[in-house]
């Protein structure tokens, strides 16, 4: 956020999570699900949407209750609320598609300990009126989903020759199997970060004013 600017507009709140503070690429938070479930684009999107739902719902509730939660027990309260919404989303996914549920496995329930959600609750929702908190949470959630998709898409294209299950290169394609295995997750995220570092350093060279660190 630009210093000195006290009241960000709704648009800025929304864009913060998508670009400037992208949870995957800039803050590098919530790594467990980021790397574990992104073997395909479909998994990535499901996980992203599930996390977004939990994020938005918890931020809304926490923001509504921000004035009656005593600060001594706030973390306990936040965890309780987050765990509730994760349980809700767990049942929702089971009801919508068992195939997705099996693919994501225990990582749906591990959304509870995703640092993004507790971080947003503590740093933002507990101090912001509901509308802005929700807008910010939606932006963060979308940013997370986009990040997951960028990983899952690349891994599925190289590792299986498909995108969202559709074959891209025909039957002669030899998949680059390591991409859908655990090391591939580390490599692809590392490569994305490299790319962003490189873009940043190019910008820093071109612009007359030195830019701060991402």
């Amino acid at each position: 956020m630009i210093p000195g600017q006290k009241n960000p507009t709704n648009m800025e709140e929304f864009l913060e999570g998508i670009w400037k503070q992208n949870p995957v690429f800039v803050m590098v938070l919530g790594m467990c699900p980021t790397l574990a479930v992104t073997v395909s684009a479909m998994n990535a999107v499901s996980m992203g949407l599930a996390t977004t739902f939990v994020l938005v719902a918890s931020c809304l509730l926490i923001s509504l209750m921000r004035n009656i939660i005593p600060k001594e027990v706030r973390i306990a309260t936040y965890i309780l609320i987050i765990a509730t919404f994760v349980t809700v989303v767990d049942y929702l996914i089971q009801a919508i598609s068992l195939a997705v549920y099996d693919a994501l496995g225990a990582f749906i329930q591990l959304i509870v300990v995703n640092c993004i959600i507790l971080g947003r609750a503590e740093a933002h929702a507990s101090k912001t009126p509901p509308v802005k908190a929700v807008i910010n949470a939606v932006g963060m959630g979308l940013g997370f989903t986009i990040g997951l998709l960028a990983l899952g898409g690349v891994r599925e294209i190289f590792g299986a020759g498909k995108l969202f299950g559709f074959s891209l290169f025909g039957p002669d394609f030899q998949p680059w199997v390591v991409m859908v295995l655990p090391p591939g997750g580390f490599f692809v995220l590392g490569a994305w970060l490299l790319l962003f570092n490189w873009i940043d350093s190019r910008k820093a060279v071109k612009s007359p004013l030195p830019l701060g660190e991402g």
């Binding site: 309780l80 765990a83 509730t84 919404f85 349980t87 929702l92």
Partner: protein, 224 residues
């Protein structure tokens, strides 16, 4: 923040807030559970049917049972001690089409879970499906893409020994291209560990299930 030098909140207020939050959370969880219960059960049934119908083509209805030394029980009750789960599949006329059960064994990366179909008339395994596995893509997944390997499970002999307590011949995985007997599984070259896990999973499960099942086959045939 408005409460800058805030005094310590009284315990009563803390307890009140926590109780309020807990109530809200409780209501949310229970309503989500109740609201999705039917859909989840329907989904689970559908997934199970799909898995069973894949290994027993032509079946139209599935019933779950627990087989244990005490006899056969419908799966609605609690799991019985030492019991093995089995799925009886019936064709549209209600005749017993086959029996499916799950086997599992440690593979290359993690546990490989398979479902196999058992044909009581032929006393043989007649189909194989994979329930879950994390084997290397392109190598381990040959256990469900390699047609030559799947041929092993068109009639894999699992006859009971004369005393009815174990299989006459244990299911065995042999080196690629050396299958000689109907109870042997021809391994996939290059994916031996995974194929051996499939063999061990089926053997372990069949050794336990079939002796328990044999005295009660007629109950299953009546389609209860």
């Amino acid at each position: 923040m408005s409460d800058a030098p805030a005094p310590i909140t009284p315990s009563a207020a803390m307890i009140r807030t926590l109780a309020l939050v807990a109530t809200i959370c409780g209501i949310l969880i229970v309503s989500a559970y109740q609201g999705t219960f039917d859909a989840v059960q329907a989904n689970k049934k559908l997934a199970l049917e799909r898995a069973v119908f894949k290994v027993i083509p032509g079946a139209a209805r599935v019933s779950e049972f627990w087989a244990s030394p005490a006899g056969l029980q419908p799966a609605a009750g609690a799991a019985s001690e030492g019991g093995v789960k089995l799925y009886a599949a019936y064709d549209p006329t209600g005749a017993l089409k086959g029996i499916a059960a799950e086997g599992a064994a440690k593979g290359y990366a993690d546990v490989v879970r398979v479902m196999y179909a058992y044909d009581p008339a032929k006393q043989a395994v007649t189909g194989l499906g994979v329930v879950s596995m994390r084997e290397t893509p392109g190598i381990g997944d040959k256990i469900y893409t390699d047609q030559a390997f799947l041929k092993n499970f068109e009639a894999l002999d699992v006859k009971l020994a004369a005393d009815g307590k174990a299989l006459a011949h244990a299911v065995k995985v042999v080196k690629h291209g050396t299958k000689q007997n109907p109870w042997e599984i021809d391994a996939i070259a290059g994916a031996t560990v995974t194929t051996k896990a499939v063999g061990r999973g089926i053997n372990e499960s069949a050794q336990r299930l079939l002796p328990l099942l044999a005295p009660h086959l007629d109950t299953l045939k009546e389609g209860k």
